[in-house]
Symmetry: C2
Subunit: 240 residues, 2 copies
């Protein structure tokens, strides 16, 4: 499993993913699920992936190949696409094609393979956008009413987002909210694991403003997690 | 869907269920999912059900019929069974039989039907016990390490239980914890709904110590829910 979450706020985009992949409980690995593409001042795109690793790796590899192709056009490269809607469409088409190819092979073995993605970014002249791409290639977009999207194991981390996130949440609170949302998920689902990858894209910066990997021994994250546990227990004690 | 939770504490058993059943989003009804059986001073049993309503209703109806049968013996009636382990075994066998019968009919229509149950109680001379019965009729039992069991939509309400419940939690805190666990679930899953049924069985009381229905307009529950929301937001603001 996986947990990835993206927030679309007036102040910017905040993205967080875990890195655990597993084929059964006895075959656990660490793979990056966050991929960044930027041409500073022109465009910035961050993608996060959940689901079958062969599908997501192939999708990202082909998108990257298309970017690096000398004959790339605005129809073939997400780094030349005219706007974020076209980026989401291109990613959706690639994901759908790779899923279909993999499915043919998997069906022969009576197995299934699917994956979903979050695509976030901004193109110069356009606004920031955040999309969730389904395995079939269709997608939905975050709005002011629902300014966040999740893929993977979304249930444990949803209540905190519902309670504290709105479009005008400042970036500092947003960082804290996605980390606490991840903390709840890490505690409850063994298939979601450290380290974490976080990216922040400030509004109209047109570049990744902040990107960091949070390792399993990160003291700041451990302190936040402990403080949140204590605060919840205190809150529980207080209420009648 | 459904959410039912049971706690096995040193001080007693605390049980809470919702009452919403649905066949699709446009066919929602209210059905009791908590069933109590007692012979005060001798034995007390509470059952909660999740899953296909025809399966759970038939299971409860047949168990009740067997109790009322003039020829009932300790092998056929849960009210004559020698101990709680035998009660769990009898309930499991009945659930498994009804599930199998229903499955035969459902398979013809390419549909599936399954249900699970929580069985809690105490028999004079025995200790309090809490079981989760699977659709196949096998079961697991709550222990000191994991003193709670859930059926139905368990994810949203699990974090609060993990943080505050241990075997020595007093009954007052336990009531609060299951209500907050339910509150988180009600907020996030439309297929779980008010009113709620709560039962408390104090240790060695051998009767239902407290039973109440919490209606949708219950002021105390609404106040607790609002206080918890506020406390969570305050806790979020406090931590760094």
């Amino acid at each position: 499993m996986t947990y990835c979450v993206g927030l679309l706020l007036n102040a910017g985009l905040v993205l967080l993913s875990d890195t655990r992949t597993n084929a059964g409980l006895d075959n656990i690995s660490t793979y990056r699920k966050m991929f960044t593409f930027e041409e500073p001042g022109e465009r910035v795109i961050v993608m996060m992936t959940a689901g079958n690793l062969s599908v997501t790796q192939t999708t990202i590899a082909r998108l990257t190949e298309d970017i690096n192709n000398a004959d790339a056009t605005h129809d073939t490269s997400i780094m030349k696409a005219e706007n974020m809607l076209d980026v989401a469409t291109m990613v959706g088409e690639m994901l759908s094609r790779v899923t279909a190819e993999t499915k043919m092979r998997m069906d022969r073995m009576n197995q299934s393979a699917s994956a979903s993605m979050i695509v976030a970014g901004q193109r110069k002249g356009g606004r920031m956008r955040l999309f969730l791409i389904y395995p079939e290639g269709n997608f939905i977009e975050a709005t002011d009413d629902t300014p966040y999207l999740q893929i993977g194991e979304h249930k444990y981390g949803k209540p905190i987002l519902d309670r504290v996130i709105s479009a005008d949440t400042p970036l500092e609170d947003a960082r804290k909210a996605v980390l606490l949302s991840m903390d709840s998920t890490l505690r409850s689902n063994l298939s979601v694991g450290m380290p974490l990858d976080m990216a922040v894209i400030e509004a109209d910066a047109l570049r990744i403003t902040e990107q960091r990997r949070i390792e399993a021994n990160d003291e700041q994250f451990a302190a936040m997690s402990a403080a949140w546990s204590q605060a919840l227990r205190d809150a529980f004690t207080q209420i009648k």
